[in-house]
């Protein structure tokens, strides 16, 4: 064999080895999902004719679409599009075109419903389902499917079972199938949250037949199957499930309100960098960009090609002080911290005005928020120094770690301002930026004396928020604050439908909370969505999760 032939063979062998490394996989989506690389029409194909296909990029990547598991923000937008709950909010349209959900509700999966007081003192709610509602596979939606969803919420391994006691439901026996199209739910209490809960996507009907066909011995409720598959009756169904490259949603032909789905396709791209999302939007390659930081949104206000929708939210970002750890076990010290935090500086310098003051554990936009009490949260360095003296804590050799999550740039910026504010009264703080997983682990292990965290209550209910975030023993009460009087007030208001009773209890609770000072409430971030200026139909509901069905491009050329 000649030298030249040998060299050629060796070269070919090397090339095969290199290509084999790349050939050890497929670039097509996971076969679990059943999704394919099917050809789909490109958008905006004909000049001058508006496309009805949307391209959106959300704040993070979809990690799974299992309805009852905690997941990424983008994933919640996907599941909202796939599953239809019994009720939905009524919407009002603002002057700028934003459709804002109200506290009134109407039938969604249910054509009609009644809620009456039961003899036992709770509610009896009867839901008549729509005869024309179908799942994405064409099968009819029945009461048994909704029952299955509620049973799964209560007995399945997901987190939803923790929510239902807030409306007085903790047993599958409280969910009854009356007939194929009638579902009855009885509750143990009269909770003002009941109807709101019925609008949550997590109670959207799951196709029971599909679920049961995919269960296994280890996975009775088919959680594994639904991580990458869906079986809902919502406005959309999945055409392609490929979170890394793009999830494609197409209208569900069996959706009861299909006539009001204003677009024919939604492609959800994964664009992790916010600045690139903004650039793509400005160049017209995206119709909607979510999760843009406040500074970027400020810059986009001046661009005539895009439109910014902003609305107040009841979410809260807060500085939690662990009252079980010195020196935060000292009430005067905590109050000193409260007065040293630069609240206004954070809202203008970190949030660029796209936030409202948080002013307490009850957000300023929530019912029963008491502004007279909320005004107690203000920066006052003289008062802070006075409280520090009163506390008798020796801060000269103290350095307090302030933990923030790596993924939260706003929290990090706020932490720097807080560090500066506390330094002005002689308290040294070291900002620790932790990977999110490490932060969560340390948080649960009670290892963070000072941290910035955030919360958003889907039902926008003050007692729900107080109960989760600040009641004794609550798992997510990261300040470990505990007051029996405070908890008693929560118990008084949480299941009362009397507005006066709720207001009185909430005000007293808010006062205790300010006095005890386990938190410095930092801001309530506005819900901002940025779209191409010709796109209409942007809405905002309880969950603040981006929805797609109303989005309309008829004005776009």
């Amino acid at each position: 064999m000649s030298n030249k032939n040998l060299k050629i063979k060796q070269l070919v062998a090397v090339a095969i080895l290199v290509i084999a490394l790349g050939a050890c996989s497929s670039s097509s989506p996971s076969s679990d999902s059943g999704a394919t690389d099917t050809a789909v029409a490109t958008a905006d194909t004909t000049a001058g004719v508006a496309s009805t296909e949307l391209v959106v990029a959300l704040s993070d990547t979809t990690n799974m679409i299992e309805l009852h598991s905690f997941k990424s923000t983008a994933a919640y937008s996907i599941t909202k599009s796939l599953y239809e709950p019994l009720l939905r909010q009524k919407f009002e349209t603002r002057d700028d075109g934003l459709q804002v959900g109200t506290l009134e509700h109407e039938g969604a999966g249910a054509e009609s419903y009644t809620v009456e007081v039961s003899p036992a003192g709770g509610f009896v709610a009867t839901f008549k389902l729509r005869a024309n509602a179908k799942f994405s596979d064409g099968s009819p939606v029945t009461a048994a499917d909704y029952k299955y969803t509620f049973d799964r919420s209560i007995k399945g391994p997901g987190y939803i079972g923790l929510l239902l006691p807030f409306i007085g439901v903790d047993s599958v026996d409280q969910i009854k199938v009356v007939d194929d199209l009638t579902l009855e739910i009885t509750t143990k209490v009269q909770s003002p949250l009941f109807e709101r809960f019925m609008t949550f996507q997590v109670f959207g009907a799951i196709n029971k037949k599909v679920a049961e066909a995919n269960k296994t011995a280890d996975d009775e409720w088919s959680f594994k199957y639904f991580e990458t598959n869906a079986a809902g009756s919502g406005p959309y169904m999945i055409d392609t499930y490929d979170p890394e490259n793009g999830i494609v949603l197409v209208p569900n032909p069996g959706y009861w309100d299909a006539a009001n789905v204003k677009n024919t396709k939604v492609t959800v791209l994964a664009v992790p960098d916010a600045s690139q999302r903004a650039l793509l939007l400005q160049k017209g390659e995206l119709d909607l960009a979510d999760g843009l930081p406040p500074k970027m949104v400020t810059d986009l206000l001046a661009d005539p090609n895009v439109k910014v929708y902003k609305s107040a939210s009841s979410g809260v970002n807060y500085l939690a002080m662990n009252v079980g750890v010195k020196p935060f076990d000292n009430q005067a010290f905590r109050q000193a911290i409260l007065y040293a935090v630069p609240y206004e500086g954070i809202i203008s310098g970190v949030m660029y005005g796209f936030a409202a003051p948080a002013n307490g554990v009850v957000s300023t936009s929530m019912e029963t928020y008491d502004s007279a009490i909320g005004a107690g949260y203000k920066t006052d360095l003289e008062m802070a120094k006075k409280k520090l003296l009163e506390s008798k804590v020796d801060v000269s050799k103290l350095t307090i770690p302030l933990a923030v999550r790596e993924s939260r740039l706003d929290d990090q910026a706020a932490a720097v301002l807080i560090q500066d504010g506390l330094r002005a009264i002689g308290v040294n703080v070291e900002v620790q930026i932790l990977p999110d997983g490490d932060f969560a682990t340390k948080q649960n292990a009670n290892e963070l004396p000072l941290q910035i965290h955030d919360w958003s209550s889907w039902g926008e209910d003050p007692f729900y928020q107080m109960k989760f975030l600040t009641s004794c023993g609550s798992f997510v009460n990261y300040s470990r604050f505990c007051s029996k009087d405070y908890d008693k007030l929560i118990a008084e208001g949480i299941f009362s439908t009397d507005k006066a009773v709720r207001q009185a209890a909430s005000s007293k609770a808010q006062q205790i909370f300010v006095d005890q000072a386990p938190w410095a409430p930092l801001w309530s971030a506005d819900r901002t969505v940025v779209v191409k200026s010709c796109v209409t139909g942007v809405d905002r509901d309880y969950t603040l999760v981006a929805g797609f069905s109303k989005l309309n491009k008829e004005n776009c050329k």
Binding site: Q10, V14, L17, V18, I19, L21, G22, C24, S25, S26, S27, S28, P29, D32, D37, A39, V40, A41, T42, A43, V55, T61, N63, M64, S69, F70, K71, P157, Y159, L162, F223, E227, E244, G246, T267, L269, A270, V271, P272, D273, L279, L280, Q282, K283, E406, S407, L434, P435, D436, G437, D438, A440, T441, K442, Q443, N444, W455, F468, F475, V476
Partner: protein
């Protein structure tokens, strides 16, 4: 030659086993695990504990190690706590994207770096040498993220010459049937030239970003290697007897300088796979780098472990390939291996 290959692969396998063991213990030193994140903000302590149990994190280190080795022997890299999917599948879905990006970046960096390095060596001390070295300094000190943002802003946003940073292909474009996983090669194989053009357009900016930075070490090592070779007696003799410059450079100088250059290119390629995170993030490239970044943020132990192991394996295999290439370049290596096998 085949004996040499078998010996090298055997050594490589032993190295991979060592890497696998080290990776397991190093990853477990990292603080936190993803159970709390997976459970979510509404979770109870019991729920977090259940998740840790589901993923085997409640077992002793030794038990976890035994499970790990057993799974590895079946090609399983565990389950991602973030997505619930098996890590092997997720990594191999994303690997072609990273390999394609790395391959073309290194190729372009070599096309830029080799001739410039040689030019700098040949024109040592002259203006051309200084300009090339200046270029190399810029390349090695350039922040990848900044360069990427600048190129996107200029070529996509201002000039409109380049598509947006949305990954490997335009929205709605059908991919060619997957043979190699490289969209460019698959499109060529299946005669889909429009798709090939699209793929090249989407590759252009991330490849240019990476190759600009990667070309710097290639230029430097090529310059040094060529300089050393130019000073050798047989080269000076060849020049003195009138061998043409082009023949001299291509046939003699490069052949003799190739070994350190190939080594550098191989190291750079291996580095690319582990270090592509920034570019993959910026360009929404669906590769293993971006997967690893998300895994680290979420303390997704199996995913991090799987990624580190995969990169380690590719590095080891890359070294085997480089050794093989040495045999092709340098007959002394080939003859030495043939003698060893007799």
């Amino acid at each position: 030659m085949w004996g040499f290959l078998v010996r090298r692969l055997t050594t490589a396998f032993l190295v991979i086993v060592g890497v696998a063991v080290v990776v397991f213990f190093v990853i477990r030193v990292l603080p936190g695990d993803g159970a709390a994140l997976r459970a979510g903000p509404y979770a109870s302590a019991e729920r977090v504990a259940q998740i840790r149990k589901d993923y085997g994190l409640d077992k002793s280190l030794f038990s976890q190690f035994c499970v790990y080795i057993k799974d590895l022997s079946h090609g399983r890299l565990g389950t991602s706590m973030r997505t619930g999917k098996n890590v092997t599948g997720e990594l191999f879905e994303r690997l072609p994207a990273s390999l394609e990006l790395a391959f073309y970046s290194v190729l372009l960096a070599s096309i830029i770096g080799l001739p410039l390095g040689a030019l700098a060596a040949i024109k040592r001390g002259k203006v051309a040498d200084q300009m090339v070295r200046f270029f190399a300094v810029i390349g090695s000190s350039m922040a990848l993220f900044w360069l990427g943002i600048l190129l996107i802003y200029l070529f996509f946003y201002i000039l409109g010459w380049s598509p947006g940073p949305v990954g490997r292909m335009s929205v709605g474009q059908t991919l060619p049937p997957s043979t190699t996983g490289f969209i460019t090669i698959d499109a060529l194989i299946h005669g889909q030239f429009a798709v090939l053009g699209e793929a090249i357009k989407y590759l252009a900016l991330p490849v240019v970003t990476l190759s600009f930075v990667l070309s710097a070490p290639i230029i430097k090592i090529t310059r040094i290697a060529v300089l050393n070779t130019l000073n050798m007696e047989h080269i000076r003799t060849a020049k003195s007897i009138g061998v043409s410059s082009i023949d001299l450079i291509w046939r003699d100088v490069f052949r003799n300088a190739a070994i350190p250059i190939v080594t550098t290119i191989g190291i750079v390629f291996g580095y690319m796979l582990g270090g592509n995170v920034i570019v993959e993030f910026l360009f929404a490239w669906p590769g293993v780098g971006r997967y690893a970044y998300t895994a680290i943020q979420n303390s997704d132990i199996d995913a991090i472990q799987g990624f580190v192991l995969l990169v380690g394996i590719i590095y080891v295999l890359m070294n085997v390939v480089i050794d093989f290439v040495y045999m092709f370049i340098d007959p002394r290596v080939r003859l030495g291996s043939d003698q060893d096998s007799k």
